[in-house]
């Protein structure tokens, strides 16, 4: 890559790094693995910097690459995850009311079948349109809708179970509001 293109690349990466890390973190649920996946995606972007980046909707494309790098990362590390149990959650400060919320939701997401989980994460956490989720996951839009529908229903059930026990007030309120 030519010098001025490397400069443009660094400029672009600097401006988009926070949102790309957020996407990767939401998909993988772990800061270190998220950084690895972002590096993988941005390495591919380095290779493709040029015609593709000049003419296409860059941001949507790069976010798609990050999600795909996360999925590849997840597939690669699947055996390791099985061996050591659930991936570690990020360290959060205890004492803040949001800690429990996060752990509860992350755990609830973790209990979904992987395809449902990915559809829910991409659609509702990463805010991708249904058509983009379908492209990223390589399935039809109808399949995305059915997976998110079943995923959300399962989440409600899981979080609802906990609502009767020790679910944080905010979530319990939402669940009640929906009833």
């Amino acid at each position: 890559m030519r010098t001025e293109q490397e400069h443009e690349y660094v400029e672009y990466v600097r401006s988009r790094l926070p949102s790309l890390r957020r996407t990767a973190h939401l998909v993988l649920g772990d800061g270190h693995r998220a950084d690895d996946a972002v590096q993988d995606a941005l390495t591919v972007l380095y290779r493709r910097w040029g015609r593709l980046t000049e003419v296409a909707s860059m941001d949507a494309y790069v976010h798609t690459m990050v999600v795909r790098a996360c999925l590849a990362y997840q597939r690669r590390s699947w055996s390791r995850v099985l061996l050591r149990g659930d991936p570690p959650d990020s360290v959060v400060e205890s004492g803040s009311g949001r800690v429990d919320d996060r752990l509860v939701i992350r755990e609830a997401l973790g209990r979904l079948p992987v395809r449902q989980r990915m559809a829910v994460i991409l659609r509702y956490l990463c805010d991708l349109p249904v058509s983009d989720v379908a492209q990223v996951l390589g399935c039809s839009e109808g399949t995305v809708k059915s997976r998110t529908h079943h995923g959300l229903r399962a989440l409600r059930a899981v979080l609802g179970e906990r609502a009767s026990a020790s679910v944080p007030a905010t979530i319990a309120a939402h669940l009640r509001g929906q009833a």
Binding site: R2, T3, E4, Y9, V44, R47, L125
Partner: protein, 394 residues
Amino acid sequence: MIEDTLHRYARQDLPPSRLQAEDVLVEARRRNRRRARLVGAAAGAAVLATFGAAAVVRTVATPPITAAGSGCVVDQLDIPAGSTGGVVANGIDPSGRYVIGLAGTRAAPQAVLWTGGTVRVLPGAFAPQAVNAAGLVVGFTGPARVQYGDEKQQRPVVYDGTRLVPLPLPDGGLGGVAYAVNANGDVLGTVVRADGSSAAVRWRTSGTVAIVSTVAGASGLGLNDDGVAVGFGMPLPHALRWSADGVTTALPVPTGADSATALAAAGDWAVGDAELPPTGNKDDLMARAAVRWNLRTGAVELISGIGGRRVSASGTVAGTTSTDAPALWRNGRIFALPLPPGGTPYSSSVSGITADGHSLVGSVEVSAGAISTSGPAGDPVASDRTVPVVWRGC
């Protein structure tokens, strides 16, 4: 609603990260260089494998890269007088008579035309993208670099040999770029519309403009003399073909690839880049692969080891290797193009090829670059180490 809970969860504070933009570049470069060494060692490994009991089966075989024959020579193109910063060659017409290039700054680009051994800067401050055998040049005015697909700052133009003529935007178009011109003078490009969507657009010599395709993220990039256009949609890149009478069809993804983009067309051929599935080896992220489609028969093939930037009417693919060295692919073999004295192998581009596939143009950096975290002074379109080159007899 559960959706609101999830949205709130998505906005959580992230743990701090040590990942910085400069580190991302250093790591991408490191993998690029590492891959260069691995590719260099691969020929030996392939020989050993034939003696081994269990040879590694690769899904995509990469042909060995050999030096182009001694008849293939590289020449630096003259730099126009008064030009500061670097100059890049952007294209060559199918007959090999005209070469176009870009100089100046990103804010004020200069179009350069080489013909018959002379070089001159064309009037009108525009960025040329393609030239046909009649010397018709197409491109755009506005900032020299299309910033991350934001073509609304650009206006499509054609230079007819004497003056710069703006091409009309279709209804709702805010800006656009003309990327290809064929022998008839028909032009293909991309327009950004007021709602933020993009469309592939065809301008005919009759003066009409027509939207070819409005699939999401559509970019129109290549056009052959029969009027068949190619390009791609987003966000997961997928190659598209538009017939002369306006029918859109998907170009197939070759077996062994995840996705493909179409970037150029000539004669019966279209070419683009393929994205290969991840192998688990991070160094493989730098591997390039081209796709070549036969627009007449529909046949598709995956070519590992070279990116597909341009194709000749004879079917030769021009691009750069996985280590950014200039190369061409012909009849199943990849040939490395020679570098000018002092040329570095990691920072080349190939931007044009003639109809016969024997002459190419591109740009090469002539000294090793340090990692740049600040832009070149004055924001030139290329660093002053970048020189335009032409390869002939290849």
